[in-house]
Symmetry: D3
Subunit: 158 residues, 6 copies
Amino acid sequence: MLGDNNFSHLDSDGQARMVDISDKKDSVRIARASVTVAMSEETVLALQKGDVPKGDVFAVARVAGIQAAKRTSDMIPLCHPLPLNSVSVVFELSEVKVDIEAEVSTFARTGVEMEALSACSVAALTIYDMCKSLDKEMEITNLVLLQKSGGSSGDFSR
Amino acid sequence: MLGDNNFSHLDSDGQARMVDISDKKDSVRIARASVTVAMSEETVLALQKGDVPKGDVFAVARVAGIQAAKRTSDMIPLCHPLPLNSVSVVFELSEVKVDIEAEVSTFARTGVEMEALSACSVAALTIYDMCKSLDKEMEITNLVLLQKSGGSSGDFSR
Amino acid sequence: MLGDNNFSHLDSDGQARMVDISDKKDSVRIARASVTVAMSEETVLALQKGDVPKGDVFAVARVAGIQAAKRTSDMIPLCHPLPLNSVSVVFELSEVKVDIEAEVSTFARTGVEMEALSACSVAALTIYDMCKSLDKEMEITNLVLLQKSGGSSGDFSR
Amino acid sequence: MLGDNNFSHLDSDGQARMVDISDKKDSVRIARASVTVAMSEETVLALQKGDVPKGDVFAVARVAGIQAAKRTSDMIPLCHPLPLNSVSVVFELSEVKVDIEAEVSTFARTGVEMEALSACSVAALTIYDMCKSLDKEMEITNLVLLQKSGGSSGDFSR
Amino acid sequence: MLGDNNFSHLDSDGQARMVDISDKKDSVRIARASVTVAMSEETVLALQKGDVPKGDVFAVARVAGIQAAKRTSDMIPLCHPLPLNSVSVVFELSEVKVDIEAEVSTFARTGVEMEALSACSVAALTIYDMCKSLDKEMEITNLVLLQKSGGSSGDFSR
Amino acid sequence: MLGDNNFSHLDSDGQARMVDISDKKDSVRIARASVTVAMSEETVLALQKGDVPKGDVFAVARVAGIQAAKRTSDMIPLCHPLPLNSVSVVFELSEVKVDIEAEVSTFARTGVEMEALSACSVAALTIYDMCKSLDKEMEITNLVLLQKSGGSSGDFSR
């Protein structure tokens, strides 16, 4: 059951604030997220064809995702700026979609769920951007947190 | 049917580039996108309760979405930097989800689809961030381009 | 007398948005702002003494102010990104204060008041930062718009 | 009495540098700052009226202030990039002004005075921006450091 | 022969400013720059070997270069923010070096020399970063403006 | 001799990633880099003449270099965001060139070579920018890592 004010980003008057993590301990924290870019079979074929530089589309999207992880606290107003120990973004192309998974780790006082979600989100937007001349019906869907570990709130696994 | 290289962001050697828009004309261009944050009934109730500052959650997410629209070309590698004439982001809360819609307009040589999609995406991530202490199972889903107008490639409506 | 909703950044439901400037015309627009950093006589003397590199303090503050003008739309959520034609920041040191004045010009659909105010503000913060080991009682005060010209809302002069 | 070169940001040749904090110890450091936006009674009334979304103006300004605290080292040239443990920004509206107070904490080798001052400064600029269609005579004034604690230079309280 | 103050970024008192381009005309402006990353034969071989993902190194460097072109005015204090019509970055690997060439175009009141030079510079730094575990003796050298066209100051070709 | 995949930024499939530094230890790490801006004798003279504000050109370039060090992880895709303990940038003007040297230190899990190289690079670009109305033939050359210390990979000195 929810209490009256369970939103950790809002103070007792309901005003937004960056929550105080002074009393939290530094620990290894890892988060994984995933997202899907649903697209037409033709767009997937174009990505797969040898004369179409599939590798490059994913290379650009991977860089965009990694940079987004680093800029999360600049993009999402109440996120804490965190040092990141690693970021990786992988892609899997199947018949009518690209699946993206990102993993981020840190040694810090708070977790990196938003960093993993941001990496997925911006990698997906970059694929959309690079394919939109072919297909405007693409859909970015199913962005979820797959797993997190570390920190006092315990591990989470979807 | 697709030709050999329909990806406008890739040059004839398949290398990424920012496509040349020198020959395109400035015109009024508008794009609308939408996304859904699916969440538990309890989380929606917490957002709705008077003592929970719903307005503020959406206010923070709205600001984040507007700023994301302005930073699109910084976030997505091959987007052109564009002046924006307007950005708006609206929210609709229903039983188990928040629907978000963003509209962006410009007077420029290329469209603002990515700006509208980025605004939706970052607004949704901000809601996730502000509610994640309550609900880690939320899902950001159905990010699509609803409509675009202006420019030589013609209007699009989903 | 004020109407019910004169805040141009808020839509009819009172929600923040970046106001639509589609119907406004590009024109030359200029704004000037000023601010004062009040400080102890000792701090001013330290700035004035030959062996203290006054020029450099102001040089750093000037660069910071110019860059702040360029980043205004990134810093202030509802500002439009604008091309800037010129930015200048000048300093005048007197007995117990530094006066700063910034002038910004553009050819655009909306004015550069916020750019001039941001330049002053960040230049003043930079002076504070560089002198704070000497004087923590400094006060940044009297930040005002001195003058604006261009645009349909008419000229303003304080 | 001041020595010949008390400016910690300037090296022995009077050149700007980011001062070396290698020998300083990590400790809890807190800073509070405040600023006032002086405005006409009519503007305050407009902010107070029920049909004018006062909450939203402050919500936008609060987000802007929090983000400015995080970007301080990007905005002020010689500031060190610091992890922040918390940031809060509060507003108090009275007859002819809005008072703003910001508090920032960190666990780091140097203090967060500039972060608290930046948060106040940008929150005030955001209020100015949102009210400037009503009132161009507003004045942002009295930006001061109220208090700092932590670090070897000792506590300060105005 | 040089007059007393030919530095267009410095005003009559020798203070830095962003020069006024109000009286300049919008026109098509193009600039090309190049740079070389000199490296050991072993490093070049590693880049060339099939099992070493050469394409990816260049893909990352290309994205970094394109983004640097877009952020030039944020990185170089007195540069004007400009819309860019196109950016491309190409690489050529030979026995002991990588040659990089960047081309940028705009339709604006001032040229894009700095954008082309920044793209080269950051692409080269990215290659350095990705190869530095193999070779710390690399040298980034010969960064020059190859050619510019457009604008009243006339064309330039090295 | 090189193994099959010595590029630490590329995973076993040859895809770019931000390398995992979780197992590395925090330690004091220092790096120094240098670069040269070769220019005509006339340009050097203009920089040296009393009525030409040489100090200011270098002051602007110094600020740009320091800020670039802080933004390295934003500019170079696979760099880790790091706290910096100090940054300094010095210039030496001789007959036909300006030599620039930057030193950066941190207490972190990875080194600051890229930060020192970025500071040099952007300081050099800023000098180019400020002198380009006089001399378009300038060349930015010889950007190298002079020295690094700290960390398990050992010290390096050119």
